[in-house]
């Protein structure tokens, strides 16, 4: 893509107006039951961004056309850099804390396996999905998982449709789900905020941003430690999460599918 297209004034002017508006609104605290949910400027920025996207609001009202949208996708990976750099600089000084939390930090990567507990049974028995459920539930479906599925089944297979579907759902609602969960759980005081922070790192960079942002706003006294733990966890996700998905989760989902799924059992009965 040419630099001129990447630097489209319409795209970046819209972005500037959106982020300033979002920051002006600030943090909105909504009490819910025992706790509260924090709506952060980043969520408002996301919502306003959707309103400019002609794929969402339609060709006629949408401010941004296809060429702007293509340029925007290049901007996402760059726009997260200052944030990730800041994360790194909170991890460095907190290395002592992080090493102390080492075993917890390493093992919580296996939390990925809980997708199997929560999502696979619903996919198989409630929604009666077929092979899509394998691709959909073996991981949190970020880029490394797409690579695994593309390599093993191809992205045009049912497994590929499953992983792509969850990938897109994650892109669309992931930041909202993670920040609402983190602030909601933090306000109930049931869990150690450090555990909530480590779990923030399991998804994509923007999910971590939303999640740890919500946590830091909910527990400001520990903000630095929490941000550092989330950052360290996200870094570990790149290093270890993919292997947990590939060598533990995927074989396990395959085994459960072959053994228990209504569709696979029907297939067996026929042969």
């Amino acid at each position: 893509m040419r630099l001129q297209e990447l630097l489209s004034p319409r795209l970046h002017a819209a972005a500037l107006i959106i982020v300033v508006l979002a920051q002006l609104i600030g943090i909105v605290d909504i009490p819910v039951g025992l706790g509260s949910i924090l709506l952060l400027p980043l969520l408002f920025a996301f919502a306003f961004g959707l309103l400019t996207n002609s794929n969402i609001v339609g060709r006629t009202v949408g401010l941004l056309k296809t060429r702007h949208i293509t340029a925007a996708s290049s901007c996402v990976v760059v726009a997260i850099i200052p944030f990730i750099a800041k994360f790194g600089t909170t991890v460095g000084p907190a290395l002592g804390d992080i090493i102390a939390a080492g075993p917890a930090l390493l093992l919580q990567e296996l939390g990925n396996l809980f997708t199997i507990v929560f999502a696979l049974p619903v996919a198989l028995w409630v929604l009666k999905m077929g092979r899509e459920s394998v691709g959909a539930t073996f991981s949190v479906a970020r880029e490394p998982s797409l690579a695994i599925v593309a390599d093993r089944y191809g992205l045009k297979s049912p497994e590929g449709a499953g992983v792509m579907g969850v990938y897109v759902v994650g892109t669309l609602v992931g930041t909202i789900v993670f920040s609402v969960l983190a602030s909601g759980l933090a306000s109930t005081d049931v869990f150690d905020p450090r555990a909530l922070a480590m779990a923030c790192g399991v998804g994509s960079g923007s999910m971590m941003a939303a999640c740890s942002g919500a946590l830091a706003a909910a527990v400001p006294a520990q903000a630095d430690t929490l941000i550092a733990l989330a950052g360290a966890s996200n870094l570990l996700t790149y290093a270890t999460g993919m292997y947990a998905s590939l060598f533990i989760a995927l074989p396990l989902v395959e085994w459960i599918y072959r053994r228990f799924s209504p569709e696979a059992r029907r297939g067996k009965a026929m042969t």
């Binding site: 400027p41 901007c75 760059v78 990730i84 999502a119 929604l127 996200n234």
Partner: protein, 160 residues
């Protein structure tokens, strides 16, 4: 379920010069946000954001120099950020003085704004064809991963 689900469009790799130009643009966009979010003076804000951008450029360059390690450039940015602030190094004090008070929450809106602006027609059509079932499964996957990780971390913190 429809079989015409398309392969994910890999975002075209950016040229280094383009990536640095965009990073400069995003950094400038962050200045008003920091002015709103912190009590820092404009000089401190520009200085702090410049240091962060410098860490970013270093990470992006390393990712290009060491492609065989297959780490995404954000992982390198994070590693450079850590290396720049490890206690005891001669540079950590200076780096931290600049970046410490930069508000991290106010660094996030640009990324999320672009993420929303970048949603493609293809992604919308995948969401439509996969339908409400995949939406339910997807939300359960997100919930399951987060809650699973919280439970394990909580358990391990309790043990150690």
């Amino acid at each position: 379920m429809s079989q015409q689900v398309a392969v994910a469009e890999p975002t075209e790799a950016l040229k280094l010069s383009h990536e640095v130009t965009l990073l400069a643009l995003v950094t400038i966009m962050c200045i008003p946000l920091q002015l709103m979010a912190t009590d820092l003076g404009i000089g401190q804000i520009i200085g702090g954001l410049t240091v962060l951008a410098g860490i970013g450029v270093a990470g992006v360059v390393i990712a290009r120099l060491l492609p065989m390690l297959k780490l995404p450039s954000v992982a390198w940015v994070s590693i450079v950020g850590i290396a720049a602030t490890i206690p005891g190094t001669p540079w950590a004090g200076a780096v931290l003085r600049w970046v410490e008070n930069i508000d991290f929450l106010a660094l996030t809106p640009p990324c999320l704004a672009y993420a929303a602006m970048a949603i493609t027609a293809r992604e919308i059509s995948i969401a439509r064809t996969s339908g409400w079932k995949i939406l339910i499964v997807g939300v359960l996957v997100l919930l399951g991963t987060y809650i699973g990780s919280v439970l394990i971390a909580e358990l391990m913190l309790g043990v150690s």
